[in-house]
Symmetry: C2
Subunit: 350 residues, 2 copies
């Protein structure tokens, strides 16, 4: 077995602490990666604190993983030792259901993908995530990472990036279209960058006047302050697509009314409680409210390659692993621009 | 001006009464139709009783109109005197916006289609519907009706028919797919017939065990009683498409959970109050909740032609105009299989 060292939540209330554990040895199809950086996703906090239920402890969170290939199995052709590589939210899936065959492993139906942490793999062993010094992953779920980009700022692409890239592509957002982004955080700032890069006219919706300048820097053509209903009335019925990244409770109907006929609004942030949705605004313009979950491995690779070509990365703040609880506290106050990334070099001193 | 005679609501509380009024003379592009039958839509009741606000009295309801062409304008080529013809929910639109140019006049953006009754036409005159002996309508909004079908049973196709046909076509329901129908009334029974005819495996959802036999006769392969949650658990994640025809408040999440990945649920009945929608079920399978309004004129003609070819009509109960208030009362008790149609011959005796 491979010796691993990381930080883990031992229960849902106490701070994360150092944790020594083992990962499987590299099999013929496996890639072992020495982790250099790991992004910190809001879902890490939800799972560490068992807010979604069913958490498995000790839990090593982290699913925005980048590093360098340290070892490969005999059957691995797609990468070699020394390459940069990434692992996102999934490390396996059934590979046989209709969704897996279509390359949409995130929607695996049999019974679902094996998540990178806080899950059980096919052998029944718990999966451990990227707040650690290494990971072993089947090559089918390992992404190639270009050396052209700032590696630390690539890490959040593995979740925040693909979660926004995929719906923008799925619903064909691009030239000649108006796209809106609700919320400006880890997901929202990536949605701005992608929507702008795809050629859409991009609007940031926010409750905070202070975010205007930053939203424009990140790609917004305009910023609409949603606290004033008049601002929304002016632009009713004008959007082809709105991506909603907010997981706090908020009124979805405000935004549904901004869609044109055949417009789509897609949720990537999940409010805990159901949100009231009015039927008439959907009916009168054949609008849709949808959800979208990360993206498949093929599309994640496409996104990483696109980012390398267009020089797109996340805006990040590096943190040592020892300050992860501070990072969580600041994330809960929206006090980060726009994603914390753990510098795994810090792990050596713990 | 053309002398017309019909039944009108004079206010929101009293029964409908006879009403003499005038319609415009037949212009060069107009068709005058002697109305033979008019279907009774639930929206007639809502508007008669001003439940949606803004009702215009006296109001002659009715937008499921069939009859015989009595007169045509000099520029009318598509039909001749003596032909059967129909008028649905719209009698005009701007004809210049993107939606009108695409033949989706129901979504006219400038500012919306001119509805067949309870609206103002481009001259500012109130529109009067089909509870009357005749109507004058621009040929662009007049439908051709085949003599092959029972004419009275064709009338409801103009609203209940197209309202269900259009979303089934828009979302590509057909062979190899599972389609569900929520509610078995005027709209639901047409949805069953179309979904079955298009080749889908069709499921009727109902709270009433007594509807099982009828649903099967109308096209359902299976009937699922929704009062027992176990019945729904068994079929979670298995539907490509669900059409929801119910306008009473009900739990949409029950049905959203039945959709497969990329599945669509479309509302054609509009509950008055917003319905709570959970985000996770949308996100985890990229499901969509949409709405759909009637259909464009081109598609309505396509639907009528399809019905003539496939021998599809509505299941109806004929009523004289004098019993319209009884019909309304029975509709509110769901006591009609499945659409009342007014026999306009009865108007002569009032």
């Amino acid at each position: 077995m491979l010796k691993s060292h990381g930080y883990a939540a031992y229960d849902k209330t106490n701070p994360l602490k150092p944790f020594n554990f083992e990962r499987r040895d590299v099999g013929p199809g496996d890639v072992q990666i020495d982790i250099l950086f790991c992004g910190v996703c809001h879902s890490d906090i939800h799972q560490v604190r068992d807010e979604w239920g069913g958490s498995i402890y000790p839990m090593v969170p982290g699913h925005e993983i980048v590093g360098r290939v340290a070892k490969i199995g005999s059957a691995v052709k797609k990468m070699k030792v020394g390459d940069l590589a990434g692992v996102g939210c999934m490390v396996d899936s059934c590979r046989t259901c209709a969704m897996c065959r279509e390359g949409e492993e995130q929607y695996c139906e049999n019974p679902g993908p094996v998540l990178t942490y806080n899950a059980l793999d096919k052998s029944g062993a718990p999966t451990y995530g990227g707040y650690s010094n290494n990971i072993v992953c089947d090559q089918a779920f390992v992404l190639k990472v270009s050396p052209k980009l700032n590696l630390a700022a690539v890490a959040p692409l593995l979740c925040a990036g693909i979660t926004t890239y995929s719906p923008l592509r799925h619903w064909g957002v691009g030239e000649g279209q108006r796209a809106g982004v609700v919320g400006l955080g880890g997901l929202g700032h990536m949605a701005l960058k992608f929507a702008r890069s795809f050629g859409a006219h991009v609007t940031q919706f926010t409750t905070s006047p202070g975010k205007e300048e930053d939203a424009k820097r990140l790609g917004a053509h305009e910023v609409v302050l949603t606290r004033d209903p008049e601002n929304l009335k002016r632009i009713a019925g004008s959007f082809n697509f709105i991506i909603d990244t907010v997981s706090a409770p908020h009124d979805l109907n405000l935004y549904l009314n901004l869609l044109r006929t055949n417009g789509h609004m897609v949720l990537v942030g999940a409010p805990e409680k159901p949100s009231p949705v009015a039927a008439f605004p959907l009916i009168m313009k054949r609008r849709s409210l949808s959800g979208s979950a990360i993206g498949g491995i093929r599309e994640t690779q496409e996104m990483l390659d696109y980012c390398a070509e267009k020089n797109i990365t996340s805006d990040i703040e590096l943190t040592p692993i020892q300050k992860i609880d501070d990072a969580y506290a600041r994330m809960l106050r929206n006090d980060v621009k726009y994603r914390f990334v753990i510098d795994m070099a810090s792990l050596k001193s713990s």
